[in-house]
Amino acid sequence: MSEKQKKASAYWKENVRYLFILLSIWFVVSFGAGILFKEALDTIKIGGFKLGFWFAQQGSIYVFVILIFVYVRLMNKLDKKYGYNE
């Protein structure tokens, strides 16, 4: 494997690791908190919101937005580290 290819595959590995972590959070807030564990979380109340219901109709969406911006930041840093930024 050439130097260039090694660099590319190291970059790809780090990228996939980020994706795995971010998508786990994506899954937990929506399918986890908003659906599978909704009943249990609904016993907790914050203001007028039952927590499971809040995650399903509000919280998961806020987390989605944050996730993409975190991804943008992480990838910009990663691009710089490997010299792929332009």
């Binding site: 659906i35 909704k38 007028g48 399903a56 109709q57 969406i61 943008v72 691009d79 930024n85």
Partner: protein, 564 residues
């Protein structure tokens, strides 16, 4: 000034604006026409994507659907936003790096096969046509209610406007009109929501108002009040649904994956300059979409509580003016079954006397809350902006599929750029006329099918694209059989349970208890499995294709989108 006058002024002004922008940014080349020249800024693209994405269904129907579905409505909220995470992380940057004009372009090149390209074109056309018919209908409904023309005339006016800027401007014209349309629609959605939030809870932020206490001095939380009202009338608690957990899970997944696989959304990310911009504009798009999507459930709660308070067990004769107005449109109807002159709005169908169309909750909300005339007119302009922007985006996908993927890539490879541009314009015109026809003569299945367009996109495109990027060894045999199995399975299930073909069936016969709306997730999994199994028995993709995959994984050197 009356609502009518305000509506004419606001709708007239916004239409003049869209047409002005279209003339200013008309397309000069196929590259302008397909990808707006490839130089759109991340913010402009984010706004355009948001307007493209938020259709008449998001603007007019969604809050109403949630009003009546309560917790079950969460599938739309999570499904139609969560898909952007998949889009941003798994698709957009790599497709941008790949740098072509359309989704079938990617499928055709990555799977080195004309068959794959044609299968992708067919999938794109099925998905886009089902979707666009619903938009034209939405335009017609708004016209008929607010401008007192009949629905058909409304559809025709809408057709002419869309035709004008889609055919003239292509992607370039559409992008900048969508930026304007985003501003109009978000303003139109937020203003009444903020007014009503203040009225009911004293909190100007609807997202917080939804979880606040009522303004009436009782100290009761709004959601508790609504749960109480709902159970009193025999409905489920608002914050608790009636669908099974399995079905909610499946529908949410199908909508998310379908969102990420919709060609008219994906193609927007071909218009930015760099891979970095594609990531950023996906984030901005979701942020801009989230403003409406987190407000909508609040509007649902306000509107439902308001409605029950206004009508439940009240004298029919004492109903406010808006009640009579909406009765005339047929979206609201009262049938005094027990002849006591009062309105019984209850879960028991034999005793319920009030039928309410979902769409009313957003359209009539400002009237129910007694807001000024200009706010009511604003909602009309917003609804039109939402429907027109989505229709235009879809028409572009249809025209590019025909002119670029079929004519240029399959039938007539040596067609000149200029001739291709004219074919694209011609295809867009034909598509508008067909969409308009379905808007005027809506086949009964339109409403049912729009929701299923997501299932179709999930079952066909998503796995093929993701495997194309993340699985270097995936070959054409695997991808094609996966797409075919996915879309055929989805079409089979949807026609069986929605139209009663293949022996039909009731919800009791659903596979794994999953509704047709949620079945896209099963069909998607089938697509993945079939693709991977077929791969084991067929040759690896050629060396140069594997190099393409390695290349799209690296963000630098994206260059500009090209057709070659």
């Amino acid at each position: 000034m009356s609502v009518q006058t305000w509506t004419y002024i606001l709708v007239g002004l916004t239409f003049a604006l869209y047409i002005g922008i279209a003339i200013y940014s008309r397309a000069g080349s196929t590259k302008d026409f397909y990808v707006a020249g490839g130089g759109v800024s991340p913010l402009a693209n984010g706004m355009a994507t948001a307007a493209d994405w938020m259709s008449a269904a998001s603007f007019i129907s969604m809050a109403g659907i949630i009003s009546f579905a309560g917790y079950d409505g969460s599938v739309y909220l999570m499904g139609w936003t969560g898909g952007y995470v998949l889009l941003a992380l798994l698709l957009a940057p790599y497709l941008r790096k790949f740098g072509k004009f359309t989704v079938p372009d990617f499928i055709g090149d990555r799977y080195y096969s004309k068959t794959a390209r044609i299968v992708a074109v067919i999938c794109a056309l099925i998905v886009s046509f089902t979707y666009v018919a619903g938009q034209m209908r939405g335009v017609g409904v708004v016209f008929s209610r607010f401008l007192q023309v009949d629905i058909d005339t409304g559809v025709i006016i809408g057709m002419i406007i869309v035709l004008f800027y889609a055919v003239l401007g292509g992607m370039k014209g559409i992008t900048y009109t969508q930026v304007a349309q985003y501003c109009v629609l978000i303003f139109a959605f937020m203003v009444p929501a903020i007014f009503i939030s203040i009225q009911m809870t004293g909190n100007p932020i609807p997202q917080l108002g939804m979880g606040s206490t009522l303004n009436d001095g009782s100290g009761t939380f709004l959601l508790d009040k609504l749960d109480g009202l709902s159970t009193e009338l025999g409905f489920n608690e608002y914050t608790d649904g009636s669908k099974s957990v399995t079905d909610i899970f499946a529908i949410t997944l199908a909508l998310m994956v379908g969102t990420a696989g919709l060609p008219h959304v994906i193609v927007r990310f071909f218009t930015v300059k760099k891979v970095k911009d594609a990531r950023k504009s996906a984030g901005l798009a979701l942020l801009l979409i989230a403003i409406l999507y987190t407000t909508a459930p609040a509007v649902s709660v306000f509107a439902k509580t308001n409605l029950i308070n206004t009508v439940s067990n009240e004298e029919y004769a004492s109903m406010p003016v808006w009640f009579k107005n909406w009765e005339e449109t047929g979206l609201l109807s009262f049938d005094d079954k027990n002849e006591d002159g009062k309105i019984q709005y209850v879960a028991d169908m034999t005793k319920n006397e009030l039928t309410i169309d979902n769409d009313i909750m957003v359209l009539a909300n400002p009237e129910i809350a007694d807001l000024p005339a200009w706010v009511i007119a604003l909602v009309a302009a917003g609804g039109l902006a939402a429907a027109l922007s989505t229709a235009a985006g879809l028409l572009l996908v249809i025209s590019a599929s025909v002119s670029h993927d079929l004519v240029k890539k399959v039938f007539k490879p040596n067609i000149s750029d200029k001739a291709e541009l004219w074919v694209a314009r011609g295809a867009a015109t034909v598509a508008v006329v067909i969409a308009g026809y379905f808007g005027i003569n809506p086949p009964g299945f339109v409403a049912a099918v729009v929701a299923l367009a997501f299932g179709l996109a999930a079952a066909s495109f998503f796995p093929a694209i993701v495997l194309g990027i993340f699985y270097k060894k995936m070959n054409k045999e695997g991808a094609i059989s996966g797409m075919v199995v996915g879309i055929v399975l989805m079409l089979f299930y949807m026609t069986k349970f929605k139209f009663g073909w293949f022996g039909g069936g009731t919800p009791a016969d659903w596979w794994f208890g999953i509704s047709p709306e949620g079945f896209g997730s099963i069909a998607m999994i089938a697509n993945f499995i079939v693709a991977i199994i077929v791969l084991q028995f067929t040759p690896e993709p050629p060396e140069d294709v594997q190099e393409i995959v390695e290349n799209i994984r690296i963000p630098s050197g994206a260059g500009e989108a090209t057709g070659h």
